[in-house]
Amino acid sequence: MPTLVDLLARISFLAAMPAVAGILVTASLLVISREWRLNVMSLTLQYFFVVLLLTRLIRLEVAAVKGLIGWMVCMVLYLTERRVDMLRGQEASANSENEVASRRHRRWVMSARTSFCLLAGLMVSVAAYTAALRLPLPEVPRDISLACFLLAGLGLLLIGLSESPMQVGMGLLTFLSGFDLFYVALEPSLAVAGLLGAVSFLIALAAAYLRVAEVAAGSEERTL
């Protein structure tokens, strides 16, 4: 059975610009999409690409632990949204077929909000590219610098575009991933890595708690 080192050695060719491209795509999807399944999947993949880049800066085991924390965070978000979806599904079981069809149709039409988010995401990506060229971060290669700026910029954009707990939570996690990718090169201490992991986990818990509160308050209002 191949070990973790073997597996990572096989995909090490991804740990450069392909991983940065992956981060750009996943972070942009988080900004544009409001479909929770797609968002959770994007965040999971984003952590995978971040771990790939981290392997160039820190020990493999530490990078793997950081990845595990990220995927646990995604699991918390997934379970929360799944539960919320189930609760909503029970309430909306009487929905007519027409409404479902119209929803399917709407899924393929780009709304004004999506267009705006796409444009804003593009502008932030260009700004991140320019920043990586003009103000490269110390102690990290240029491609990782670009990944850091992309994650931080798109994370902040996500926070700014929405007040929904899940979107803000994912924005904060994306922003923190960008900072973490840079900071491990400056301070490789395990204590700092552990505390940053705890921060990520607590942000996910806080977002999940507020999401549940949102649904509970909404259903209470409907029953009144």
């Binding site: 301070e187 204590a191 921060v199 818990l205 806080a206 507020l210 999401r211 949102e214 308050a217």
Partner: protein, 465 residues
């Protein structure tokens, strides 16, 4: 203890009194126990409070200057827990507040300072749970506070690395400039300085009011002490060109903004936030004076702040519980007759926060105005006007609360038939009376806290001679 309190949260009085007792015992203990002599604890274990404790390889050091600041955090928390016992008994404030207290006191003690930034961030994440009211829509305040604290984290952590590098290569003075900029932005985010102030009225206006005040006094107080610790550790920062001008200008903008927006509010919650914003602005102005008097006034403002804001929040909680969580003028019309004690707490707290004479706020605000008058009379005048702005906001609230019932048919102002709604309970009344007396007592005899503020300022030497 936070875990135990969480388990017994169902028995709200037990949870509240446990939280109050723990915070009070820690506050009294940290002041009265000797630093240099070992103290016998249960199980025959001896601990000297002043000795260095190693926790996960990091040093926790309790110094003389930290004792008073920690006592301030613990005793303020104890007061808030006591008020929350009667006004928001089922809130997560008790376990989360205790958890936050341990993290914030750890932040003040831990070396090096980068860990303090991480502990403050974790405490901010805890505050989201405390701020969220049971059965209410999610509060923007908690999420915003967490967002701004997270955004402040990179600056604080990277500054530490930059300063370490500067120690190795003192020729690179650009590192100092970058550190100064990062630290300024980070603390502006953490303290809610303009233009990063949006979380302040949101924290106070939405969610559990006493949890909001916990964030604005205890968490924010810890951030203020951390800023002073940074200035003491890195004295070049306070003599950095135009640093005190920047502090003064930002503080003044906060005072002007708070003073202008406070009377325009149509809800009581954000009014508490704007009162806190003005107070933070005044504290920044005091720090910007870059003198011993300025540091003393900074401490005095921090020590006086909890009195007015806690009373305001307690009154607001009492009123909200009778108006389905709505604190707009329309929802509050005539409610003063149903909840006179909550109304009294709100009004007296509001007047204390605005700096009215014989209130705790007056002592610090008036002393600051007198210190400012010779050099910046305009700033002193704006500070007084900002206080009047808060007073106008409180007056408008009182006007709505005291609308008299016109007829028995007017259901909005007729006392409720539910006896639980009509009466505020004798314990609540006793608590409000004690809190008001305490507030007025400190207002009439501010020397006790002023002396303490002067002693605290003596521990700091970063300002210009």
């Amino acid at each position: 203890m936070a875990g135990i309190v969480y388990i017994v949260l169902r028995w709200s009085s037990l949870a509240a009194l446990l939280s109050f007792g723990t915070a009070l015992a820690l506050g009294v203990g940290v002041v009265t126990l000797p630093l240099d002599q070992p103290v016998q604890f249960g199980g025959g274990r001896q601990i000297a409070l002043g000795e260095t404790v190693v926790f996960f390889g990091r040093e926790l050091v309790l110094e003389q200057a930290d004792r008073m600041t920690m006592a301030f955090l613990f005793l303020t928390a104890a007061g808030i827990f006591l008020l929350a016992w009667r006004f928001t008994p089922h809130s997560l404030l008790f376990p989360m507040g205790l958890g936050m207290l341990s993290l914030l006191s750890g932040a003040l003690l831990i070396q090096p300072l980068i860990y303090a930034a991480l502990l403050i961030e974790i405490a901010a994440a805890f505050s989201v749970f405390a701020l969220q009211g049971e059965g209410h829509a999610p509060t923007r305040g908690g999420l915003r506070y967490l967002t701004f604290t997270t955004m402040a984290l990179p600056g604080l952590l990277v500054t530490h690395w930059l300063l370490d590098r500067y120690a190795l290569t003192p020729d690179e003075t650009g590192l100092l400039g970058a550190s100064a900029v990062l630290l300024t932005i980070s603390f502006a985010l953490l303290l809610g300085a303009v233009p990063f102030h949006t979380w302040v009225p949101a924290v106070a206006g939405e969610g559990v009011p006493l949890s909001g005040v916990f964030v604005l006094t205890v968490s924010n107080g810890a951030t203020w002490f951390l800023l002073l610790e940074f200035l003491e550790t890195y004295p070049w920062l306070s003599v950095y060109p135009r640093f005190e001008d920047l502090l003064f200008a930002v503080g003044l903008v906060m005072v002007i903004l708070g003073g202008a927006l406070a009377p325009a509010q149509r809800r009581l919650g954000p009014l508490v936030g704007y009162a806190a914003l003005i107070d933070s602005g005044a504290t920044l102005i005091a720090l910007g004076m870059n003198s011993r008097v300025g540091v003393t006034l900074t401490f005095l403002a921090l020590l006086m702040r909890p009195f007015g804001l806690s009373l305001m929040a307690a009154g607001l909680s009492g009123l909200r519980s009778r108006s389905d969580g709505d604190d707009g003028w329309d929802a509050l019309r005539g409610l003063g007759w149903k909840a006179p004690w909550s109304t009294a707490a709100l009004v007296i707290g509001g007047l204390a926060a605005s700096g009215l004479p014989i209130s705790p706020g007056f002592a610090s605000r008036w002393a600051l105005c007198r210190a400012l008058a010779p050099s910046s009379p305009g700033a002193a005048l704006l500070l007084l006007l900002a206080g009047i702005g808060v007073m106008v906001g409180v007056w408008r609230g009182l006007f709505a609360l005291l609308v008299r019932p016109r007829s028995p048919e007017d259901r909005s102002v007729v006392p409720s038939r539910n006896p639980g709604d009509a009466s505020e309970g004798w314990l609540t009344r006793v608590l409000v009376v004690l809190a008001v007396l305490g507030c007025l007592g400190i207002g009439v005899f501010p020397q006790t806290l002023a002396t303490l503020a002067a002693r605290l300022a003596e521990s700091y030497t970063f300002f210009l001679p």
